[in-house]
Amino acid sequence: MSIPGSWYLILSALLFGIGALGLLIRRNVLIMFMCLELMLNAANLSFVTFSRMLGDIAGQSAVFFVLVVAAAEVVVGLGIVVAIFRRRSTAVADDISGMRD
């Protein structure tokens, strides 16, 4: 309770940076997805921190909805990855450069 909110915000910024870095430097689509999840978690951490700092529960409701949307996004995204893999048998982003074939 006595930890300053800015510590959590710095931690959140660092986690977001790690996620963005992974998204930029990795080629495997699955790991890029995981990095997206890391960035969503960083946003959730700042939401909860601001919710505590401002004494407003709405931030935690926002995190609840972010969790639901993240679950839906992962389901659809992994479905697309599996569909692409069946057609092209690759999970590397550089090999998936065309939408038509």
Binding site: L14, L30, I31, V48, A71
Partner: protein
């Protein structure tokens, strides 16, 4: 005075220890996700990060979200990731040193470092929306978190909650459709009816 300071520090130590433990879990897991060559190891490192975030949630008295974080992320999403990794086969040839675009990785590192530094500097400089950066607001009292979140979700955000239900149904149906259609395309005889149309449209276009 010294006694008061010592009492304050002694009261702070458990919180600080929990915060540091959670932060180490988060950062180690995050670095593990982007550094492991094997996608399974990346998924397990992501579990570490998610648990760390849950620890930080509990530290900030968001118990409901911590539980949901564990159940939804570690329990469902990571398992889904692992299933897909197993389904696709572990892809070992995602080589870290393979660099198709010239100097993309150094530029990415530079960009991320600049972005994070500017976010932190801005946060300290501008005191975003919360006054001084060391403010800790009032809390909701013990054992009230679930009730508060529930009251907020079911009154203020009721419409968003209903839309969430529709979103989940759509996502599940969409995933089933995606998985089924590609399976039918490889095995079914229905594909020749669609392929010539694609070719004719291509000829017309050219």
């Amino acid at each position: 005075m010294t006694g008061l300071l010592l009492a304050t520090v002694a009261r702070t130590i458990p919180d600080t220890a929990v915060f540091i433990a959670g932060a180490l879990m988060i950062l180690a897991g995050g670095i593990g996700v982007i550094a492991c060559k094997n996608p399974v190891h990346s998924a397990l490192a992501m579990v570490l990060t998610l648990f760390g975030v849950a620890v930080e949630f509990i530290e900030q008295q968001a118990e409901f979200l911590a539980a949901v974080q564990i159940i939804v992320y570690a329990g469902a999403i990571v398992v889904l990731f692992l299933f897909v990794i197993m389904f696709l086969g572990v892809d070992q040839r995602d080589d870290i040193h393979d660099e198709p675009l010239v100097a993309q990785r150094p530029l990415a590192v530079l960009l991320v470092v600049i972005s994070v530094i500017s976010i932190i500097a801005l946060g300290f400089e501008a005191s975003w929306a919360v006054g001084p950066h060391h403010v800790t607001g009032k809390t909701f009292g013990p054992y009230q978190n679930v009730g508060e979140v529930g009251r907020s979700v079911f009154t203020t955000y009721l419409f968003a909650f209903e839309a969430t239900a529709a979103l989940l149904i759509i996502a599940v149906v969409g995933a089933v459709v995606l998985a089924r259609r590609s399976g039918a395309a490889t095995s079914d005889a229905a594909i020749p009816t669609s392929e010539p149309t694609a070719e004719t449209t291509e000829e017309v276009a050219s």
